[in-house]
Symmetry: C2
């Protein structure tokens, strides 16, 4: 069985860079199965070549699990046949978008079949009368956003991976992003789906209407279910009118407390900006070390605040925000007047991931979320944990909705560092939960957080979730071992 | 068994006004059970008096089913015990808010226990820092709205029943209302729940954070599940800042096509008003007959359009809307300058239900929803159905999100009218589905639409929904026979 202890062991093995693969090849698939798959999707869309399988063995967690075979279906009908065969033969199937997830949701942890959705990449319709789009799961998020913006429409969810992540993956993980503070997460925009169930049935959920209350809401259940309940083959998306304009401001604070208080005060004044991003002092240190961007030494925290909407209203709102935060230790305020200036202000934020990697190649990137007003307290907790374990922890993220990316920086080559990091992370999770928060605001559980599930979800609640999984996937064929290690 | 045919028979019986009750008393509950219930909630909170049971026997469908006993618990712990007992004894439990539903969701169709939530009526917290409230299920919707508006916050969902309906009922049915076109439905504001499962476990789902992706989203699954999956004992609600101002306009059109086109054009111009309500010519006829409100004879349709937000922006947006709709056969435009004037404009809309009842006491009130642009086509379909069956059908509702209240007007005393109405309704449902719509935008299925479920939900999809019900409620104790007649 694939339990928590096994996972830790495998993760430790994965960390040995010399090791080519974590799991030995399972070889559960013989040529008969390959032939069936080729019959379903065409020979050219099935691969057992090691080089191909390698490409589908990892995600952003940098863990690797080699699948036996990779298939590239193009239709729900093909996927239906694959699932029926997989059920009959008891072969696990791992659906995969772009493999950009941070928790291992798409990793083929038990070998078997990787079901890749790249060929299902059509924007089927953008209905400008009803502000609704229909897409296939393999459409890349940014390409979709650009397509709808061309017709003055707007799809807000903007995960950092949007240049390569797919909408199918976004739905499966319920992706977030900076703009979610005002507009909501992926789930809030998904109004209907076509799915293939683990047993191979093609069903539709929801539809293109703005309201609908007939039967249980399978649409929202599938959103964020991490590919464990169904394979998404079509997505119906609610769009918004594109805001007329936006205004970006970058504010440097002399303390993290000042920045965190600013967030609380802005929201407390009944203003919800389109984005409200923060970076702490350690993040700024990394940026200073790794780039030549201008970040004054006095700055110990940064907020990037963006407001959008009607042009005249924006100026008024931006001024109100400036007034609210002025007393909180502002070192400098930069306001963008043009799109180019706005882009320049975002450079600091966009440089963070690369800067962190440059300064410190090994890190665990967590994404706790707490009630917004608890961000200062959470940062203090993280600082204490950092001190206790003697590990640098760097915080940045979506302060507006309390979603903090906690980056635990280690050197995996130093013996004991990874273990210390794991303990620190567990304390971070516990800290977030004590404040009424959650272990994950947008990355999901996958395998990375699965060992910690009992911290957040009671055994009873987990039992009901597992009962739902069992009802939909009695043979545990679809993305097994994700979210709950024991399923 | 309680199947579709039984239901129709019972409904027909219910329509005979002389009949006191539809079902004979089931007497499944003996004094031993009553004693256990009294032990759990206190003697004073259990009633088997016929007068009390009568009060809990009906809802807005005007159908009546007598429960054996009514209990009034105050805590989740009490409800947990009730459910455990009910499971052991196989007694059905029917949770009930204010009983204002239009589809029979709260009707005790199989006798047993009515579990009334009136005593769980506390607003536990309004967190003005995080824009989040926590309430008990028995809080009346309007009272909650007023409480949050006092601190400049905003809870948009506004079902017509808001003066008496409860938040628990709103969540169970996923209530809508005029403001949902801009702000979304009840579900979009519910971020966490405490529930008692059919088996008596108390679990929490979601929480007070703006994001959270750990485990399956039971919160959204419970929303709109019509009291069949869990009893809601606590609700965590996301709030918005209260808009600074609003502006109401009432526009009279010389044709329904003009009004419907206006809706399409407004949305097509990337404007989503806070409300976009319409009434057709027959509705206006009823209003003229039943009230002394000024509605010019030339008016064949009315739109009430409300925009909200920043004061200066409103005037600009209202002007843009006026420009867009001017060429579409506008008879008259009335613009409210004050709150009192706004209230006056709403009078026509608010008088509709009473006017309809006065003109024609018997009606079936359906609430189909189609893609917004299909509203004109749908109205034409309804007109054709009305003509075919020689029955007056009156349409009004939330045009902005395509949610049309189709009121089939009959005289139940005339033999054959009810049957004709049922056939007409089935055709209306089919018409909506042909246009990519749904049978219900906000009222739910309950028992009223349960016979029509196969029109909208395929057998396979229904099987998955029933599998979820079975997983959570293996003994089919909680609100049995709702949504799916055969469960």
């Amino acid at each position: 069985m694939f339990d928590s202890a096994t996972l830790r062991l495998e993760r430790a093995n994965a960390n040995e860079r010399e090791a080519d693969f974590v799991l030995k090849e399972t070889q559960m698939i013989d040529t008969r199965i390959i032939r069936i798959l080729a019959d379903i999707v065409g020979k050219e869309n099935v691969s057992t070549e090691k080089a191909d399988r390698l490409c589908y063995s990892y995600d952003a967690t940098q863990q690797k699990f080699l699948p036996d075979v990779v298939v590239h279906p193009q239709t729900a009908a093909e996927i239906s046949l694959i699932m029926k065969m997989a059920n009959a033969e008891r072969i696990p199937v791992f659906p995969r978008g772009a493999g950009s997830g941070f928790t291992g949701g798409s990793l083929p942890t038990r070998g078997g079949i990787v079901l890749a959705t790249e060929r299902m990449n059509q924007i089927i319709e953008i209905d400008t009368e009803n502000l609704v789009a229909t897409v296939e799961p393999g459409v890349v998020t940014e390409q979709f956003q650009q397509a709808v913006e061309k017709v003055d429409l707007f799809y807000p969810p903007d995960p950092a991976s949007l240049k390569f992540s797919t909408l199918g993956g976004n739905v499966a993980e319920c992706a977030g992003g900076p703009r979610c503070v005002k507009y909501g997460v992926t789930k809030d925009f998904i109004i209907g789906l076509e799915i293939v169930t683990p047993q191979g049935d093609i069903i539709t959920t929801g539809g293109p209407t703005m309201k609908g209350v007939v039967g249980y809401d399978l649409t929202k259940l599938i959103c964020g279910s991490e590919g464990t309940l169904a394979i998404i083959t079509r997505i119906i998306i609610k769009l918004l009118p594109l805001p007329e304009a936006k205004q970006t401001m970058l504010v440097l604070f002399d303390s993290i407390d000042g920045a965190a208080q600013a967030v609380s005060n802005i929201i407390g004044h009944r203003i919800i900006p389109a984005t409200l991003e923060f970076m702490d002092g350690r993040t700024l240190d990394c940026v200073r070390q790794a780039t030549d961007l201008q970040v004054p030494e006095a700055a110990q925290a940064v907020l990037i605040i963006e407001v959008d909407g009607d042009k005249e209203f924006l100026a008024k709102q931006a001024q109100k925000i400036a007034d609210i935060i002025q007393p909180l230790g502002v070192v400098e305020t930069r306001i963008a007047r043009t799109a180019a200036e706005s882009e320049a202000l975002w450079q600091i934020r966009r440089s963070v991931s690369a800067s962190l990697r440059k300064v410190n190649p090994d890190k665990f990137n967590e994404d706790i979320c707490v009630p917004r007003s608890k961000v200062p307290e959470m940062i203090r907790k993280v600082d204490a944990i950092s001190e206790k374990y003697g590990i640098s922890i760097v915080n940045f993220g979506h302060a507006g909705d309390g979603n903090i990316h906690v980056n635990v920086m280690i050197d995996k080559k130093v013996a004991g560092e990874a273990e210390k990091a794991e303990k620190a992370i567990e304390e971070v999770f516990k800290g977030a939960l004590e404040l009424g928060g959650t272990m994950s605001g947008e990355h999901g559980v996958g395998i990375a957080k699965a060992p910690y599930i009992p911290l957040e979800i009671t055994e009873k609640a987990a039992d009901y979730m597992k009962a739902i999984k069992k009802a939909l996937d009695p043979n545990n064929i679809l993305n097994p071992g994700k979210i709950f290690l024991d399923q």
